[in-house]
């Protein structure tokens, strides 16, 4: 294939710095880098949120529409047994509580009552464990989110008091009430997910039931861990056909859906904006390519004189566009991977760490590569470069050899 051979030789001339190729390739590479970094970061935010949601709620949640689930231990065991693909199930009891500690004001917090062993099979508590011993966790102890513990100035062994808002209401009505209960901190967990780290207080389910005045062995919901989280929708759908009474199953993907949709839309919008920028860059590369072809008028005439057909001349300059696209993509993708590797340092240098924490709730920039984003960008780059090289290539192919040689002088 001599046109490809000549295209490569013209683009990367021997014993000379390939200035034209260098400028064009770097131009494409910068566009590719920008697109891939933006796409990967946005995908990572979405993916990280999805992972956190799964790790907070489990893959499938069975609830009773706000009513408590009775005989939760037995129901949980039955669900685990009857749900295809389920590897663990754990009941939990959630509610709002009023927290009072020695060093802090009174504040409302979310409290979750759990069975630690079962919970650790659904949610990766072991991975999040920062301080304390799991063995110390009992009806007198709590586990705190790391940020909450820091904000309250509470360390291991510290004391805090919890009471239910329902008790206050009962007191106002003049009814008998349970007194606020004291707990000691036996563990601290850090998930890296801001809402969880700022708000988490874990009690035993028995202590939570006592706090909320609920019957023993009740649960707000039972969450299930599946072997394959992508099957959560189907599993929830199947469960809903068989679950008795007012029990309902919901997949993890339904939680914070609006937020995840917003992240996805943000990603699409950014892709569109970056695409426009790359389109502008492509046209300027196209213009450079046109100049490059015009400077080669004499050679185009010569090739015609030697018997090259118009299609072969077209092939030379389209090949050059494709080569620029391929090399630009390879360089751009490498740069993008490098930038993404040092993402945390870059965010710190830019002083945007706190913004990241506030806007996206992550202490670190997450990274989840998405192969379709890389493939889409590669395809787009090649398509654009082929398109912008088509015009100069057509111009070259339509030159009569006699005219080309005369015009070149």
């Amino acid at each position: 294939m001599w046109p490809c051979y000549l295209a490569r030789k013209q683009l990367f001339p021997p014993r000379r710095f390939p200035l034209f190729a260098f400028i064009s390739i770097v131009g494409v590479a910068l566009g590719v880098t920008a697109l891939l970094v933006v796409q990967t970061v946005m995908h990572s935010f979405g993916e990280e949120h999805r992972r956190r949601i799964r790790e907070s709620y489990g893959d499938v949640i069975v609830h009773a529409g706000g009513s408590p689930i009775g005989a939760a231990t037995r129901t949980s065991a039955l669900l685990l047994q009857k749900t295809p693909g389920a590897t663990a199930a754990a009941p939990y009891l959630e509610g709002q509580a009023i927290l009072m500690s020695d060093e802090a004001d009174i504040r409302f917090v979310g409290v979750r009552g759990i069975d630690l062993d079962g919970e650790a099979r659904v949610i990766p508590l072991d991975r999040y464990w920062e301080a304390g011993r799991k063995e110390d966790f009992d009806d007198e102890h709590v586990i705190l989110g790391a940020t909450l513990a820091e904000n309250l100035g509470l360390g291991l062994g510290a004391t805090l008091t919890l009471t239910s808002p329902g008790h206050i209401a009962q007191a106002i009505d003049g009814q008998r009430i349970s007194l606020p209960k004291e707990f000691h901190v036996s563990g601290i967990i850090r998930t890296g997910f801001r809402p969880a780290d700022e708000q988490t207080i874990l009690l035993t389910r028995r202590a939570a039931a006592e706090l909320f005045g609920a019957a023993p062995d009740t649960a707000s919901a039972i969450h299930l861990k599946l072997r394959d989280h992508t099957q959560a929708g189907d599993t929830a759908h199947q469960l809903n056909r068989h679950l008795p009474g007012n029990l309902r199953a919901a997949p993890w993907s339904g939680f914070r859906k609006a937020f995840l949709d917003a992240v996805a839309m943000e990603k699409e919008l950014l892709f569109f904006l970056m695409f426009i920028i790359i389109l502008v860059a492509s046209f300027s590369i196209g213009s450079t390519l046109f100049n490059h072809v015009v400077r080669r008028t004499r050679e185009i005439g010569l090739l015609g004189a030697l018997g090259a057909r118009p299609r072969q001349i077209l092939q030379i300059y389209i090949t050059q566009g494709i080569l620029i696209g391929l090399a630009g993509y390879a360089l751009g993708a490498t740069l993008a991977v490098l930038i993404l590797h040092f993402r945390q340092q870059i965010v710190q240098l830019m002083g945007q760490g706190e913004t990241l924490l506030q806007q996206y709730q992550f202490a670190k920039v997450p990274l989840h590569y998405n192969t379709p984003d890389f493939l889409k960008t590669a395809l787009l780059t090649l398509l654009l470069m082929t398109t912008v090289s088509l015009l100069p290539a057509l111009w070259a192919a339509r030159r009569k050899p006699s005219e080309a040689m005369r015009d070149a002088g």
Partner: protein, 236 residues
């Protein structure tokens, strides 16, 4: 006994036959006729020279004879076949096999070495590189540049570039070689050496040669000599 009759061998058709070729260009001051009535036939191995003043239309004539441009009227035949109905692509394919060109400015591809410039012409015709390589090596040796095979045109002198261009023009064993002022950019001694080589190689391979030149001495060496004047070829 049957009568033994000797059938005379049919002479081969002329390599090139031009009948009443005309060509003109549109200018702001109207139509400018460059070639008016060119009629010419060239036999295999024949050497024809064309002289003329600058602007007389020598290069235009050469381009039309070589199928690089089309006449406004008249007929052109290569080996007895008309070119009038050929598409540009088919004309290019025929040109690649049938024609060799040597230009005043050498027209070598600057990114290719001397050897690669020669093999390129063979590859355009469709010969694989492995077949073209030994031919190019042999031709480089023939033109005295065996040691310069890997040199780029920028590393060669004018005379050396023209030798490479000559080797390139010969690699596909053309029937006709067009030489447009091949010594125009060379000093007298180098020009004479290139001219000797050109004539010698075309003669030994029975390649017809049309030489366009200002140089009377070189033109005199042709078997037929013409002067292009007022768009018409006149015997010199």
């Amino acid at each position: 006994m049957p009568d033994k009759t000797t059938i005379p061998a049919t002479p081969p058709p002329p390599v090139l036959r031009a009948r009443a070729l005309a060509k003109g260009y549109n200018t702001p001051r109207g139509r400018l006729a460059v070639l008016a009535d060119i009629t010419l036939a060239i036999d295999p191995g024949e050497f024809v020279s064309i002289r003329g003043e600058s602007g007389a239309g020598k290069t235009t004539l050469l381009q039309i004879l070589g199928g690089l441009d089309r006449p406004d009227s008249g007929e052109l035949l290569w080996n007895g076949e008309t070119l009038a109905r050929e598409t540009n692509a088919r004309l290019a394919r025929r040109r690649a096999r049938w024609l060799g060109c040597v230009f005043q400015n050498y027209h070598l591809v600057p990114e290719l070495t001397a050897h690669e410039n020669i093999t390129l012409a063979a590859r355009i015709v469709g010969h694989p590189l492995r077949d073209a390589t030994p031919d190019a090596t042999r031709l480089l040796a023939t033109v005295g540049l065996a040691q310069r095979a890997t040199h780029l045109p920028s590393q060669l002198s004018g005379g050396e570039c023209q030798r490479v261009a000559l080797a390139r023009a010969l690699i596909n064993n053309p029937s006709l070689l067009l030489a447009d002022e091949p010594t125009g950019n060379l000093d007298e001694r180098t020009g004479a050496s290139i001219m000797n080589l050109l004539i010698e190689l075309t003669k030994s391979a029975r390649i017809a040669l049309i030489l366009v030149t200002h140089n009377t001495e070189f033109a005199q060496r042709a078997t037929r000599r013409f002067i292009l004047r007022h768009g018409v070829l006149q015997p010199a």
